[in-house]
Symmetry: C2
Subunit: 142 residues, 2 copies
DNA sequence: GTATCTGCAAACCCTTTGCAATAAG
DNA sequence: CTTATTGCAAAGGGTTTGCAGATAC
Protein backbone atom coordinates (compact mmCIF):
# COMPACT_ATOMS: atom_id res chain seq x y z
CA UNK A 1 0.00 0.00 0.00
CA UNK A 2 1.24 3.46 -0.89
CA UNK A 3 2.06 5.88 1.88
CA UNK A 4 -0.10 8.96 2.25
CA UNK A 5 2.81 11.05 1.07
CA UNK A 6 3.15 8.98 -2.07
CA UNK A 7 -0.54 9.32 -2.78
CA UNK A 8 -0.30 13.05 -2.31
CA UNK A 9 2.74 13.49 -4.51
CA UNK A 10 1.03 11.62 -7.31
CA UNK A 11 -2.01 13.80 -6.88
CA UNK A 12 0.14 16.93 -6.98
CA UNK A 13 1.90 15.76 -10.11
CA UNK A 14 -1.33 14.94 -11.84
CA UNK A 15 -2.65 18.41 -11.10
CA UNK A 16 0.46 20.13 -12.32
CA UNK A 17 1.11 21.59 -8.87
CA UNK A 18 4.39 21.74 -6.98
CA UNK A 19 5.81 19.69 -4.16
CA UNK A 20 6.57 21.81 -1.14
CA UNK A 21 8.05 21.08 2.24
CA UNK A 22 5.22 22.92 3.98
CA UNK A 23 2.50 20.67 2.59
CA UNK A 24 4.54 17.56 3.36
CA UNK A 25 5.00 18.62 6.96
CA UNK A 26 1.33 19.38 7.41
CA UNK A 27 0.35 16.05 5.93
CA UNK A 28 2.83 14.23 8.10
CA UNK A 29 1.47 15.91 11.20
CA UNK A 30 -2.10 15.04 10.28
CA UNK A 31 -1.24 11.37 10.03
CA UNK A 32 0.42 11.48 13.43
CA UNK A 33 -2.74 12.76 15.06
CA UNK A 34 -5.17 10.22 16.41
CA UNK A 35 -8.75 11.01 15.62
CA UNK A 36 -10.18 14.42 14.85
CA UNK A 37 -8.34 17.70 14.60
CA UNK A 38 -9.03 21.27 13.63
CA UNK A 39 -6.86 23.89 11.98
CA UNK A 40 -5.83 25.57 15.21
CA UNK A 41 -4.71 22.30 16.81
CA UNK A 42 -2.76 21.40 13.73
CA UNK A 43 -1.14 24.82 13.61
CA UNK A 44 -0.12 24.72 17.27
CA UNK A 45 1.20 21.16 17.09
CA UNK A 46 3.38 22.14 14.16
CA UNK A 47 4.68 25.23 15.95
CA UNK A 48 5.49 23.14 19.04
CA UNK A 49 7.71 21.00 16.92
CA UNK A 50 9.39 24.02 15.44
CA UNK A 51 7.81 23.55 12.03
CA UNK A 52 7.01 26.91 10.55
CA UNK A 53 3.84 26.85 8.49
CA UNK A 54 1.31 29.63 8.40
CA UNK A 55 -2.36 29.11 9.02
CA UNK A 56 -3.04 30.33 5.50
CA UNK A 57 -0.98 27.51 4.06
CA UNK A 58 -2.80 24.97 6.18
CA UNK A 59 -6.13 26.33 5.02
CA UNK A 60 -4.90 26.13 1.45
CA UNK A 61 -3.58 22.59 1.84
CA UNK A 62 -6.61 20.94 3.42
CA UNK A 63 -8.84 21.00 0.34
CA UNK A 64 -6.04 19.34 -1.61
CA UNK A 65 -5.73 16.56 0.95
CA UNK A 66 -9.47 16.07 0.87
CA UNK A 67 -9.61 15.93 -2.90
CA UNK A 68 -6.75 13.45 -2.88
CA UNK A 69 -8.77 11.15 -0.64
CA UNK A 70 -6.53 11.57 2.40
CA UNK A 71 -8.75 13.42 4.85
CA UNK A 72 -12.40 14.26 5.26
CA UNK A 73 -14.41 17.00 6.86
CA UNK A 74 -15.69 15.26 9.95
CA UNK A 75 -18.13 17.81 11.33
CA UNK A 76 -18.85 21.44 11.99
CA UNK A 77 -20.24 21.16 15.49
CA UNK A 78 -18.29 23.95 17.17
CA UNK A 79 -18.65 26.55 14.47
CA UNK A 80 -15.53 25.46 12.68
CA UNK A 81 -14.41 22.45 10.72
CA UNK A 82 -13.03 19.31 12.24
CA UNK A 83 -11.16 16.86 10.07
CA UNK A 84 -9.76 13.38 10.26
CA UNK A 85 -7.44 11.36 8.08
CA UNK A 86 -9.17 8.54 6.27
CA UNK A 87 -6.48 7.04 4.09
CA UNK A 88 -5.60 3.55 5.21
CA UNK A 89 -8.24 3.51 7.92
CA UNK A 90 -11.51 1.70 8.35
CA UNK A 91 -14.67 3.61 7.76
CA UNK A 92 -16.01 5.92 10.44
CA UNK A 93 -19.60 6.46 11.33
CA UNK A 94 -21.21 8.92 13.67
CA UNK A 95 -24.63 9.05 15.18
CA UNK A 96 -25.46 12.59 16.20
CA UNK A 97 -28.37 13.78 18.29
CA UNK A 98 -29.99 16.93 16.93
CA UNK A 99 -31.49 17.65 20.32
CA UNK A 100 -28.53 17.67 22.66
CA UNK A 101 -25.58 17.29 20.31
CA UNK A 102 -24.45 13.97 21.73
CA UNK A 103 -22.23 12.12 19.32
CA UNK A 104 -21.72 8.37 19.26
CA UNK A 105 -18.85 7.06 17.19
CA UNK A 106 -18.88 3.74 15.37
CA UNK A 107 -15.75 1.81 14.75
CA UNK A 108 -17.70 -1.01 13.20
CA UNK A 109 -18.41 -1.08 9.49
CA UNK A 110 -21.81 -0.08 8.19
CA UNK A 111 -24.33 -2.79 7.47
CA UNK A 112 -23.51 -4.76 4.39
CA UNK A 113 -26.91 -4.14 2.93
CA UNK A 114 -26.38 -0.39 2.94
CA UNK A 115 -22.97 -0.70 1.47
CA UNK A 116 -24.11 -2.76 -1.47
CA UNK A 117 -27.11 -0.61 -2.06
CA UNK A 118 -25.26 2.64 -2.48
CA UNK A 119 -22.12 1.28 -4.04
CA UNK A 120 -24.08 -0.52 -6.71
CA UNK A 121 -26.45 2.26 -7.46
CA UNK A 122 -24.24 5.31 -7.36
CA UNK A 123 -20.79 3.77 -7.63
CA UNK A 124 -19.57 5.86 -4.74
CA UNK A 125 -16.67 4.78 -2.60
CA UNK A 126 -18.12 5.32 0.85
CA UNK A 127 -15.91 6.84 3.50
CA UNK A 128 -18.16 7.88 6.35
CA UNK A 129 -21.72 7.96 7.53
CA UNK A 130 -23.09 10.84 9.54
CA UNK A 131 -26.42 9.78 10.90
CA UNK A 132 -28.66 12.42 12.44
CA UNK A 133 -31.46 11.64 14.81
CA UNK A 134 -32.68 12.06 18.35
CA UNK A 135 -31.27 10.14 21.29
CA UNK A 136 -33.55 8.37 23.76
CA UNK A 137 -33.48 11.27 26.24
CA UNK A 138 -34.34 13.87 23.62
CA UNK A 139 -37.15 11.75 22.23
CA UNK A 140 -38.93 11.91 25.55
CA UNK A 141 -38.62 15.66 25.57
CA UNK A 142 -39.84 16.33 22.06
CA UNK B 1 -50.99 14.15 14.17
CA UNK B 2 -50.08 17.37 15.92
CA UNK B 3 -49.25 20.42 13.86
CA UNK B 4 -45.71 21.72 14.00
CA UNK B 5 -46.99 24.75 15.87
CA UNK B 6 -48.60 22.55 18.50
CA UNK B 7 -45.41 20.58 18.92
CA UNK B 8 -43.47 23.78 19.33
CA UNK B 9 -45.85 25.32 21.83
CA UNK B 10 -45.67 22.22 23.98
CA UNK B 11 -41.90 22.35 23.78
CA UNK B 12 -41.90 26.01 24.78
CA UNK B 13 -44.19 25.34 27.70
CA UNK B 14 -42.08 22.49 28.91
CA UNK B 15 -38.99 24.64 28.83
CA UNK B 16 -40.63 27.48 30.68
CA UNK B 17 -40.14 29.81 27.71
CA UNK B 18 -42.64 32.20 26.21
CA UNK B 19 -44.81 32.03 23.15
CA UNK B 20 -44.07 34.86 20.78
CA UNK B 21 -45.53 35.90 17.48
CA UNK B 22 -42.06 36.18 15.95
CA UNK B 23 -41.19 32.55 16.55
CA UNK B 24 -44.57 31.40 15.28
CA UNK B 25 -44.17 33.36 12.09
CA UNK B 26 -40.69 32.02 11.48
CA UNK B 27 -41.86 28.46 12.08
CA UNK B 28 -44.81 28.92 9.78
CA UNK B 29 -42.57 30.24 7.05
CA UNK B 30 -40.17 27.33 7.42
CA UNK B 31 -42.96 24.84 6.89
CA UNK B 32 -44.10 26.67 3.78
CA UNK B 33 -40.68 26.30 2.19
CA UNK B 34 -40.02 23.26 0.07
CA UNK B 35 -36.66 21.68 0.70
CA UNK B 36 -33.61 23.39 2.10
CA UNK B 37 -33.29 26.97 3.26
CA UNK B 38 -30.75 29.17 4.95
CA UNK B 39 -31.15 32.08 7.32
CA UNK B 40 -30.89 34.75 4.66
CA UNK B 41 -33.56 33.17 2.48
CA UNK B 42 -35.84 32.81 5.43
CA UNK B 43 -35.25 36.41 6.46
CA UNK B 44 -35.94 37.75 2.98
CA UNK B 45 -39.06 35.64 2.47
CA UNK B 46 -40.45 36.93 5.74
CA UNK B 47 -39.70 40.52 4.81
CA UNK B 48 -41.38 40.06 1.41
CA UNK B 49 -44.55 39.10 3.20
CA UNK B 50 -44.27 42.10 5.46
CA UNK B 51 -43.42 40.03 8.52
CA UNK B 52 -40.93 41.91 10.63
CA UNK B 53 -38.47 39.58 12.31
CA UNK B 54 -34.81 40.36 12.81
CA UNK B 55 -32.05 38.03 11.76
CA UNK B 56 -31.00 37.78 15.39
CA UNK B 57 -34.37 36.38 16.35
CA UNK B 58 -34.19 33.84 13.57
CA UNK B 59 -30.74 32.78 14.70
CA UNK B 60 -32.05 32.46 18.23
CA UNK B 61 -35.13 30.49 17.17
CA UNK B 62 -33.51 27.86 14.98
CA UNK B 63 -31.81 25.91 17.80
CA UNK B 64 -35.15 25.70 19.55
CA UNK B 65 -36.84 24.30 16.47
CA UNK B 66 -34.05 21.80 16.10
CA UNK B 67 -34.23 20.70 19.71
CA UNK B 68 -37.98 20.36 19.38
CA UNK B 69 -37.51 17.93 16.49
CA UNK B 70 -38.94 20.23 13.85
CA UNK B 71 -35.92 21.04 11.70
CA UNK B 72 -32.42 19.76 11.16
CA UNK B 73 -29.12 21.17 10.06
CA UNK B 74 -28.86 19.81 6.55
CA UNK B 75 -25.33 20.78 5.59
CA UNK B 76 -22.66 23.42 5.70
CA UNK B 77 -21.49 23.29 2.12
CA UNK B 78 -21.42 27.00 1.31
CA UNK B 79 -19.79 28.24 4.48
CA UNK B 80 -23.09 28.64 6.26
CA UNK B 81 -25.82 26.39 7.57
CA UNK B 82 -28.65 25.05 5.49
CA UNK B 83 -31.69 23.65 7.21
CA UNK B 84 -34.82 21.73 6.37
CA UNK B 85 -37.98 20.92 8.22
CA UNK B 86 -38.27 17.29 9.18
CA UNK B 87 -41.46 17.08 11.18
CA UNK B 88 -44.07 15.06 9.34
CA UNK B 89 -41.75 14.26 6.48
CA UNK B 90 -40.04 11.14 5.28
CA UNK B 91 -36.38 10.73 6.00
CA UNK B 92 -33.79 12.44 3.83
CA UNK B 93 -30.45 11.10 2.85
CA UNK B 94 -27.54 12.70 1.05
CA UNK B 95 -24.54 11.23 -0.62
CA UNK B 96 -21.75 13.79 -0.84
CA UNK B 97 -18.53 13.55 -2.79
CA UNK B 98 -15.52 14.75 -0.82
CA UNK B 99 -13.61 15.27 -4.05
CA UNK B 100 -15.83 17.52 -6.10
CA UNK B 101 -18.64 18.36 -3.72
CA UNK B 102 -21.35 16.72 -5.80
CA UNK B 103 -24.41 15.96 -3.74
CA UNK B 104 -26.98 13.30 -4.54
CA UNK B 105 -30.25 13.41 -2.65
CA UNK B 106 -32.26 10.36 -1.70
CA UNK B 107 -35.97 10.52 -1.40
CA UNK B 108 -36.13 6.82 -0.75
CA UNK B 109 -35.91 5.46 2.75
CA UNK B 110 -32.70 3.96 4.01
CA UNK B 111 -32.26 0.21 3.90
CA UNK B 112 -34.31 -1.58 6.49
CA UNK B 113 -31.29 -3.38 7.77
CA UNK B 114 -29.57 -0.16 8.72
CA UNK B 115 -32.62 1.18 10.38
CA UNK B 116 -33.09 -1.80 12.62
CA UNK B 117 -29.45 -1.99 13.44
CA UNK B 118 -29.14 1.52 14.81
CA UNK B 119 -32.57 1.86 16.26
CA UNK B 120 -32.20 -1.35 18.23
CA UNK B 121 -28.73 -0.71 19.42
CA UNK B 122 -28.77 2.96 20.29
CA UNK B 123 -32.50 3.66 20.46
CA UNK B 124 -32.06 6.70 18.28
CA UNK B 125 -34.89 8.01 16.17
CA UNK B 126 -33.14 8.43 12.85
CA UNK B 127 -33.88 11.51 10.81
CA UNK B 128 -31.23 11.75 8.12
CA UNK B 129 -28.15 10.12 6.72
CA UNK B 130 -25.25 12.14 5.40
CA UNK B 131 -23.00 9.75 3.57
CA UNK B 132 -19.54 10.92 2.51
CA UNK B 133 -17.51 9.27 -0.17
CA UNK B 134 -15.99 9.73 -3.58
CA UNK B 135 -18.00 9.74 -6.79
CA UNK B 136 -16.95 7.62 -9.79
CA UNK B 137 -15.13 10.52 -11.47
CA UNK B 138 -13.14 11.45 -8.38
CA UNK B 139 -12.18 7.84 -7.74
CA UNK B 140 -10.35 7.73 -11.04
CA UNK B 141 -8.45 10.86 -10.12
CA UNK B 142 -7.34 9.84 -6.65
C1' DG C 1 -43.72 42.97 38.60
C1' DT C 2 -40.31 39.80 36.82
C1' DA C 3 -37.97 37.17 33.58
C1' DT C 4 -37.92 36.44 28.72
C1' DC C 5 -37.66 38.16 24.06
C1' DT C 6 -36.75 41.41 20.39
C1' DG C 7 -34.09 44.53 17.38
C1' DC C 8 -30.10 46.92 16.53
C1' DA C 9 -25.47 47.27 15.87
C1' DA C 10 -21.15 46.02 17.23
C1' DA C 11 -18.24 42.32 18.23
C1' DC C 12 -16.54 37.68 17.12
C1' DC C 13 -13.97 34.43 14.94
C1' DC C 14 -12.93 31.20 11.49
C1' DT C 15 -11.62 31.41 6.84
C1' DT C 16 -10.30 33.63 2.61
C1' DT C 17 -7.70 36.77 -0.13
C1' DG C 18 -4.37 40.48 -2.07
C1' DC C 19 0.20 41.25 -2.47
C1' DA C 20 5.14 41.07 -2.58
C1' DA C 21 8.79 37.92 -1.87
C1' DT C 22 10.35 33.14 -2.55
C1' DA C 23 10.79 28.67 -4.50
C1' DA C 24 9.83 24.77 -7.67
C1' DG C 25 10.46 22.91 -12.14
C1' DC D 1 12.35 32.13 -16.79
C1' DT D 2 7.61 31.13 -15.58
C1' DT D 3 4.10 29.86 -12.60
C1' DA D 4 2.96 28.12 -8.15
C1' DT D 5 3.39 28.82 -3.15
C1' DT D 6 4.19 31.12 1.07
C1' DG D 7 3.49 34.44 4.94
C1' DC D 8 1.54 38.40 6.51
C1' DA D 9 -2.07 41.17 7.51
C1' DA D 10 -6.31 42.85 6.17
C1' DA D 11 -10.80 41.84 4.55
C1' DG D 12 -14.83 38.92 4.46
C1' DG D 13 -19.05 37.10 6.05
C1' DG D 14 -22.04 34.25 8.72
C1' DT D 15 -23.27 34.07 13.57
C1' DT D 16 -23.36 35.66 18.30
C1' DT D 17 -23.91 38.97 21.88
C1' DG D 18 -24.66 43.31 24.91
C1' DC D 19 -27.99 46.32 25.87
C1' DA D 20 -32.23 48.93 26.28
C1' DG D 21 -36.92 48.74 25.39
C1' DA D 22 -40.99 45.79 24.79
C1' DT D 23 -43.68 41.79 25.90
C1' DA D 24 -45.48 37.39 27.93
C1' DC D 25 -47.45 35.58 31.95
Amino acid sequence: MKSELQVFQEFILQRGLRRTLERERVLQEIFEIHGHFDVEELYLKLREKGVKVSRASIYRALPLFREAGLIREADFSDGHWHYEHIYGHSRHSHLKCLGCGEMVEFEEPSPQDLEEHWVKRYRYRIVALEVQGYCPACQQGA
